[in-house]
Amino acid sequence: MGVLTRNIDLFVHHFANTLKLFAVSGIASLLLGIFLAMLRVSPVPVFRGAGTLYVTVVRNTPLTLVFVFFVFAYPYLEIIKFEFFTAAVVALSLYTSAFVCEVVRSGINTVPVGQAEASRALGLTFTQMLGSIVLPQALRSVVPPMVSTFIALLKNTTVAAGFSVREAGAIRDALSELGEDTLTGMLWVAAIFVLLVMPLTYLQRVLEKRWSVAR
């Protein structure tokens, strides 16, 4: 307990940054992931190819390398300068969106193809068909894997500690320099992560109940 109470400011400050990272990159990767899934099921071969290429490359790259790219290599391209926090958000969002894309796509595949054909027969465009027929049904069936993806994102934010974002992953280093017992400190970090994941699991349960469909 002492480690936590003596360094409460440190814990609060660092976990606040963790949550900030999680919130911003969570929203960004959800939007980008759905967009990518739309690309992957679109009738245009070029779009499908682009979506597949993106998922293959990004999903198969270790997150740390994605970070290394945006923090150390990207600046050489001299496009837009990122602050370290922004770079972390970009890396996390691009990485997680590949997973979100696959989750959403698996949901889309659960919607019988007859529904898409029926909506086309009714004269809906591709976007209308996806937006009002397929995606609403697809998203409700992917709640559990989607929540898992976001839990993974929450924990993945700790990678940013190595790239100048002072969040939960940096607590151990700070404690070690303060001469505190790092092992106890790490246990507290783990415990707080469990606490943070609990609302997400609760959200999963609520959504599953509310959106459940009789089949």
Partner: protein, 297 residues
Amino acid sequence: MRVRTLAAVLLAGGLALTACGKEGTGTDTGAPAGVFDVAKDVKVEGSPTFEKIKARGSLVVGVKEDQPGLGYKDPTTNKYTGFDIDMAKLIAAQLGFAEDKIQFKTIQSAAREQAIINGDVDYYVGTYSITAARKEKVSFAGPYYIAGQDLLVKKDNTDIKGPDTIKSKKVCSVTGSTPAKLLRDKKLVEPDANVVELQSYSLCVTKLLDGEVDAVSTDDAILKGYAAAEPDKLKVVGQTFSTEKYGIGLPKDDKALRDKVNEILEKSLSDGKWDEIYKNTLGKSGSEGKHPTLEKY
């Protein structure tokens, strides 16, 4: 051109990830440097550690392997070089052991006290600050070097002259480290985001050379090590704003050995050996080396 630099950096990033990043290897100490006359028939009355060394016939010295110019292990040749290494060799020679009788052992910062207590190493030389808390577990000879937090900047930089001139600059240090904390706590750098924290000093130096940060801050000895590797690109400002006394870590209560090592250090300060070692290693940075005052106890 941009693409090529990008490829090079990606490659370097990959290497760093596999833990074989080797920035700043240019710290060769030269062939004759680091070789010292070996003393004969050395006796250290009443030192259990020395008895143990004698019986073994060789020395085990704890060092660091990731600090260019201080304690650095070349990954290709497995040879150790640097100021701390030469200091360790000098002490070994004065204790009667030639270089081929020294076995260097890399010990990480957090494991130092335990390695000395367990007897895994006979003595430890590696940016080991003398503190009251550590003195309860081990003992220290020295200090053999008095370091302090300083700033490493590009050679052509003229506007950073000391700790008061970095207010709105970007300054890099290692994640969660004491130097980074000091920069924040003393409000030397503002806002918080201007203190950049990366995994290693090598990465900070890379960012400095790329012009993405304005300075790197930690103990001047470590900074001089990097400056010594690239003296025409980097320089150490030379205005220290904290004090760290580097000592030789020894087993606690082995006063006989501690006195002997202090005697060796004292002699090296008076006969020019200390200056020779400094000149061959950290001195290449272009910064002067100041003699420490020994604190015997």
